[in-house]
């Protein structure tokens, strides 16, 4: 299981914004709320969790809603955990 803190660390590392996500919670907006989080970042997040957490997500299983908040993305990723 991926935790919220782990997910925030992954995203902060990819976007190179250390510390900026520290106070954010499940309901905070991700796509549209973090200016640096774009389609390239989506690719990087999916690649990182697949490589390090054994989570596999097919491209046709994701939508913009899954990236709307930290919580929505966390739920999606954990639902795909092996």
């Amino acid at each position: 299981m991926l935790s919220l803190d782990e997910l925030k660390t992954i995203i902060a590392d990819i976007l190179q914004i250390p510390g900026r996500l520290d106070g954010l919670g499940r309901d905070d907006t991700l796509l549209g709320g973090i200016p640096e989080f774009d389609s390239m970042a989506v690719v990087s997040v999916l690649t990182t969790v697949e490589d390090n957490y054994g989570i596999t997500v097919d491209d046709d299983e994701i939508s913009a809603e899954d990236f709307e908040t930290f919580g929505a993305l966390l739920d999606l990723l954990n639902s795909k955990a092996a």
Binding site: V42, T47, D59
Partner: protein
């Protein structure tokens, strides 16, 4: 009135005065002429072609490398006549299939490639291709399908001795300009085409730099040869 001026200010801030003015002229000409006139502003980008893996491969994807029209291509939302006409040039299409369904498609022109929006020919050196019209089915756009399509195309192109691809983006398409820059593409030139019916005036910073034509059979030929380095790593 305040809303309109706010929108104008936002456009000027995002695009800059020159591009915003160009776009305004383009829209005015297009509307006044029913589409036969316009001011087209292209920026030309070069990308290295390499066979390094950008993302993990998906074993569920199949790739078709087509040099002629096939019915599967008609799944992309383009006029069929336009798709068929593309193969009248030296063009190849990479079709990406998942469970037999087309999910993406990328197009590449070799040698001399005719632009279809203005009268212009792009001349590619032997080690380069013209890339145009990468299409990904909407529900696959958020994931890695684009990267996998590009990766598969690069692998095939490297085997064919290709080291670079070139493409053109409208200066008015800010989103696409930024996407290309994020992907590491380098701008190598620009050209402005004023089309007034059959009359066309071009100026730019790629040879022949300036062109004036009044015949629909004549077109300036932009030579991209000088933009190709000995190897992708030297660019």
């Amino acid at each position: 009135m305040r809303a309109v001026s706010g929108r104008v200010r936002a456009v000027l801030r995002e695009y800059g005065v020159r591009v915003a003015l160009g776009f305004a002229v383009h829209r005015l000409l297009g509307r006044a002429s029913g589409g036969s006139c316009g001011l087209f502003w292209y920026q030309f980008y070069r990308q290295p072609v390499g066979d390094q893996l950008l993302v993990k491969e998906d074993p569920g994807l199949n790739f078709l490398w087509l040099d002629h029209h096939e019915a599967i291509l008609e799944e992309i939302p383009r006029p069929v006549a336009n798709l068929r006409a593309r193969f009248e040039q030296d063009v190849k299409s990479l079709v990406v299939l998942k469970r037999g369904e087309l999910i993406a498609c990328a197009w590449f022109g070799f040698g001399r490639f005719w632009e279809d929006e203005v009268r212009c020919i792009y001349r590619m050196p032997a080690a380069a291709v013209w890339d145009f019209d990468v299409y990904v089915v909407p529900r696959y756009r958020l994931g890695r399908t684009f990267a996998r399509t590009w990766q598969a195309a690069n692998t095939l192109l490297v085997k064919a001795g290709i080291t670079h691809s070139f493409s053109r983006i409208s200066a008015y398409n800010r989103h696409s300009v930024l996407s290309h820059q994020r992907l590491g593409a380098a701008q190598v030139g620009t050209a402005l085409f004023l089309r007034l019916g059959a009359l066309q005036l071009m100026c730019g910073n790629i040879a022949p730099y300036v062109s004036f034509t009044i015949s629909v059979d004549r077109a300036p030929e932009l030579d991209f040869g000088r933009f190709v380095c000995a190897s992708a790593s030297q660019c």
